[in-house]
Assembly symmetry: C2
Homo-oligomer: 331 residues x 2
């Protein structure tokens, strides 16, 4: 049998196990020009929460009673497709199924020689590209500038901070546990990290940690954490908006201090993006990230959860910050 995970109902607020349903079907038989894929690693990402709502977000919403999808590394078990052969490893946006067929569209071959397979979901995958291109194309870092990253202990945040350091910035990370604070400074080369949950006045803490102000704020979270950073931005600050994990589960329209006055007086630029906006830059970015990884200038961090049935829980745990770096489910 071939297990699959369907969207059982649209989450209201924080997602729960009951929003997902595990079901099964026959292992499919590939047609001509198709491959049969066996799922090895599944990426769970905060942005998937948006696709679980009915409203259109970046991409069309997931359908009820249909399998969910995300970044997956799979092995080719059988091939009737000229571009792939049995034993190849591929990455792609695939369904949450143990086995599935594909016509090969959107699949990319990955090799175990270059890096471990799971890293193609992390630092060498969408995560790394999101961090690198969001920072370089919107953040426009200059040597000596101050970069603040929220969600710093997450998949994108750990890469943003390291790339910021490689490009000569002073890097401050905001994260939700003392354990992650230690990890950021000890393993990921951040200059400072702040536990926003235990810091009584975050705005003042950022002010004292960033004596020259904040030139770039790479925002993964939105909400009150971002308010505290925005209050400390410098003239001509750049604010890439990569995610808003603190707001994804809100059931009412979230309100907060209006941004226009500070955006105006600081001549600041706030720009949202989805990684496909920069598709033509993927090859150069991947080349740079691979080079840094080989030179051990970039540390990949993963939280690996085991077992197909645990995909929904791994996704739910993202909103509790249970991951350090990239959350991946190994099948």
């Amino acid at each position: 049998m071939n297990k699959k995970i369907l969207l059982n109902k649209r989450p209201h607020g924080k997602p729960t196990r009951n929003d997902f349903k595990i079901s099964s079907e026959e292992v499919p038989i590939p047609n001509d020009n198709e491959v049969l894929l066996k799922t090895l690693y599944v990426s769970v990402d905060p942005y998937l929460r948006g696709r679980m709502n009915e409203a259109k977000s970046y991409v069309p919403p997931f359908e009820l009673n249909k399998p969910l999808q995300s970044g997956i590394i799979a092995e080719v078990m059988e091939s009737k497709q000229a571009d792939f052969k049995k034993g190849d490893f591929v990455s792609g946006n695939l369904e949450w199924k143990e086995y599935q067929t594909s016509n090969g569209k959107g699949l990319h071959k990955v090799t175990q020689n270059e890096a471990k397979l799971s890293s193609y979901l992390g630092v060498l995958g969408m995560t790394g590209l999101t961090a690198y291109l969001g920072l370089t194309e919107i953040g426009l870092p200059k040597k000596g500038e101050t970069l603040v990253v929220s969600g710093a202990g997450g998949a994108v945040g750990t890469v943003v901070g390291q790339v910021g350091k490689l490009l000569g910035c002073t890097v401050i990370g905001l994260t939700g546990s003392d354990e992650k604070v230690d990890l950021l400074t000890a393993t990921f080369n951040f200059d400072h990290a702040i536990n926003y949950k235990t810091t009584p006045n975050l705005k003042e803490a950022i002010k004292s940690t960033c004596p020259n102000g904040v030139d770039i704020y790479f925002d993964n979270v939105g909400g009150e954490i971002s308010d505290a950073v925005v209050a400390n931005i410098n003239k001509y600050a750049r604010l890439p908006v990569c995610g808003a994990i603190s707001l994804y589960n809100e059931t009412e329209v979230p309100v907060g201090p209006r941004l226009q006055p500070i955006i105006l007086t600081k001549s600041a630029t706030m720009r949202g993006f989805i990684i496909s906006d920069f598709a033509e830059k993927f090859p150069a970015a991947t080349k740079q990230l691979s080079a840094w990884l080989k030179e051990n200038k970039l540390t990949s961090s993963e939280t690996i959860v085991e077992g197909f049935d645990n995909i929904p829980q791994a996704f739910i745990d993202l909103f509790e910050g249970k991951n350090k770096g990239k959350m991946i489910v190994k099948i």
Copy 2:
């Protein structure tokens, strides 16, 4: 005697006449390398409100019991300065005094041949540059796109709309009276104008007036009017933040719907500016605006108030929207 207007106290909320004090002094005598200037036209602008607060805004705050300053057109009455002669007209950021001396720094000669003198405070001055450069450098208009302008009946708004039309956009103006709605469509070539004060659901009204969504939102006001526009932006929208007149008199931190979710899902860019950010573009922009004015492709609009003593009231009236186009005090 030589009258002057001082900042009597810092306004709390909406400015009142009592925040200003009219005083007088001797007409000054120019030293070597100075000119004596007689004030002819005084520009009053919403951004001056920010300088009346103690907190630093774009520029240092005005000092209590010192003369206020703004854009002024003056006549040279006496010159001990090689660059200027008696009878020259100049524009500059000058003090609210009937007569003052200057060493010539920051003064620009203007001529009555090219356009009427007051237009150097409006369409050929900072107002026109703000409109043109904010729109072209941040709004990045493309032919066929939809441009929404708030504060559309004001000094900057009337120029933004006209420039948007000249560059091939469909232009919708938001303004606060039916009279100004008529003015925008009849005189300033806007495709549509909406009276936000009498429209029960502004968000829906914008949606139906902009069937293709909003590509550019030129924001002069901030606040709830902007919320209604932002809810209708397209993917890759650009939002130049030029002013936030609805928020300048707030005594508490204004709150509203958080912007990050829509900035993120629309890959939108919100960027604040002050016109000096684009100083190196002034000559080319002025050339373009002058050409359009000569070709009658651009209509200059001014509300002229007469009398030196009326400068404070003209400034206060900006916040009631009593001006159509540029508010100018003629001395």
